[in-house]
Symmetry: C2
Subunit: 368 residues, 2 copies
């Protein structure tokens, strides 16, 4: 029996819901981590136990993504936002040719701003003129062979836009912000040079960011950065250069165990996520535009389903009635408003079915 059934109906854009089985283990750990006999909040980051936590979490991510051996895995602080700067500090400072960035939504706009502080940046495509409602087609993209790297955001959380292909060419390093779809499906990690993702969508609480980085990037990177911004130093220290966010990393470990053992890997997770997204897409598509999708159908995200309702009054009723039915987190991002159902890994098919059922019923009652 669930200790708090409302957690299963939390459609928040992030920090997002976590699996109930994980929450139960986390709750136990606050008083007593079974293997240690102490609260997780008072265990030394230099303990053998915590070293094993970091190692197992790395191993699990390696296994889940079938990661090539030349990738290092880091658990850092500062969110994806720190990576917006740390990536160009490492890969762009002092470079003559521009790094090529895609501007596909709220988050990639922020990435571009920070990158431009560090070196030459070219925006190769922008969705601004289309109001960030679609992604570029293959024909719209031309990349330079001389760019130090290309950068894009695999899933735009705010607008609910997601790439279903890998961009760019194999001879230019690919860097990708996968914050909102990391470990939600297979990602062809071997095609990338650097992948980063904060934890608070699919894999843990806010406060830790996962960076997968190829050894070649580290070897060729800027050498004179402050220690905490230097990937090399963080790699040498096994993410333990200074006190890491012990608790957040431990939760990530529990989530990766759940993905491996309870779900059965990211391929299976991707199938489940597809089922969930299709459930909501079909409500939208069969609603006679009562539920109006923000994103063009061909670029809709399996993670964030953003839509609007016919009037502000109906939207207000939607929020009121969903709250009364114990749903939460459905308010759209302040940048675009409307409704957003975020259906990250921890949202079960049955939770999404409940929302889909509610939406059908709501439409019947509120259709003009």
């Amino acid at each position: 029996m669930s200790l708090n059934p409302k957690n299963a109906l939390n459609f928040s854009g992030g920090p997002g819901a976590l699996p109930e089985v994980v929450l139960n283990q986390v709750q136990q750990s606050i008083i007593n981590v079974p293997e240690v006999g102490l609260s997780i909040l008072g265990i030394s980051h230099r303990s053998a136990w915590f070293e094993a936590v970091v190692r197992e979490t790395e191993d699990n991510i390696r296994k889940l993504l079938n990661l090539p051996d030349d990738f290092h895995i880091l658990f850092l602080q500062g969110g994806a936002t720190q990576q917006f700067s740390q990536v160009p500090m490492t890969m762009l400072r002092g470079k003559k040719h521009a790094a090529e960035y895609l501007d596909t939504g709220y988050w990639s706009r922020k990435v571009v701003t920070e990158a431009m502080r560090e070196g030459p940046v070219k925006v190769v495509w922008s969705g601004e003129s289309d109001g960030y409602r679609r992604l570029p087609t293959e024909e719209e993209l031309t990349f330079s062979p001389d760019a130090p790297y290309i950068h894009y955001v695999s899933n735009e959380t705010v607008e609910g836009l997601q790439f279903n292909r890998v961009l760019g060419h194999d001879h230019v390093p690919r860097v990708c912000d996968m914050s909102s779809d990391f470990l939600s499906k297979p990602c062809e990690a071997d095609k990338f040079s650097l992948i980063y993702a904060h934890a608070q969508k699919n894999i843990g609480p806010a406060g830790v960011t996962i960076v997968l980085i190829r050894d070649s990037v580290v070897q060729n990177g800027t050498k004179d950065l402050p220690a905490f911004l230097d990937y090399r130093r963080q790699i040498e220290a096994h993410s333990n250069l200074n006190t890491p966010p012990v608790f957040a990393i431990y939760v990530v470990l529990l989530v990766t165990r759940w993905l491996l053992n309870d779900i059965g890997g990211v391929e299976k997770m991707g199938e489940i996520n597809r089922v969930k997204a299709d459930l909501l897409f079909s409500i939208l598509d069969n609603s006679d535009d009562f539920y109006h999708s923000w994103a063009a159908p061909e670029h809709r995200s399996d993670m964030n389903v953003a839509f609007t309702l016919p009037t502000k009054e109906i939207e207000a009723a939607f929020f009121e009635e969903t709250r009364a039915a114990d749903f939460s987190g459905l308010e759209g991002h302040r940048a675009i408003g409307g409704v957003r159902a975020s259906i990250y890994n921890a949202l079960s098919v049955s939770s999404v079915e409940k929302l889909a059922g509610f939406m059908q019923d709501f439409q019947r009652r509120h259709r003009k």
Copy 2:
């Protein structure tokens, strides 16, 4: 009745023990924050509830330290280590005169290394030649009136050395790393321009760092830093520039409530901490040097009591017997070895009495 009595005997140097009453509330919050009805790990950092958490935590710190109004309070990621760089990035870049740093132990050595990347640094005193077993007297210190600021570490966690006075002159800004004694006693905050402290000693879990910074420092600081390293941007965003470590900040809130309501403020906390330290000091001082203090008696820390035993064999027996008696975290820092009893705020007088009693008994049994 305690759910896990071992937490009360955790003398770890950090992440350190937290008060049992706080742990119990944290445990509840993992499944259900009463005011919200959701897991703390799935609550949006943009929610009204979390904004109130940040505001109350700020207010509590303001109240506890009687902080002048021109101080801003920030909750940042990256640990004190990020501040080692962020402080000189803000206050030292492009300056002609050297910032003046004190080198009093393991941690201040690290601070100096990072500061030197950003601008001119002068080490005005070093404890290296004395093996970092004492702090400077007032007569040994001369500060320049032209320094952009002075920097020191109020409590050296590794060696157990603590200043019991404020250094420097009022016309040169004082910057202080108070990571290991913040909120353990009154600190004359009004004499400082910038104070920083990570949470994981006295005030919360690893993953959040508190920065108290005067408005004048922000106004005069470097203007072209990446957003996440720019105090101004963080202040404007009320520590919510990008997703902050929601969980860690919530725990800090609970600890500040405990300090205000259960303990009765930092003056009272300081008195309790003094009683605890005196208990252990008196064991050391009356042990005929069986327990040999690392630090000179006049500079010993109320937070970290570091000492050695007559032989490696006796030390090994000490660790074995303390573990068997459910004490933990007593191993000295890898940099200097020996024993270290960290007696942060959450360690009760009765826990320290238990350790003191054990130490007397141990000495009786192991004295040659």
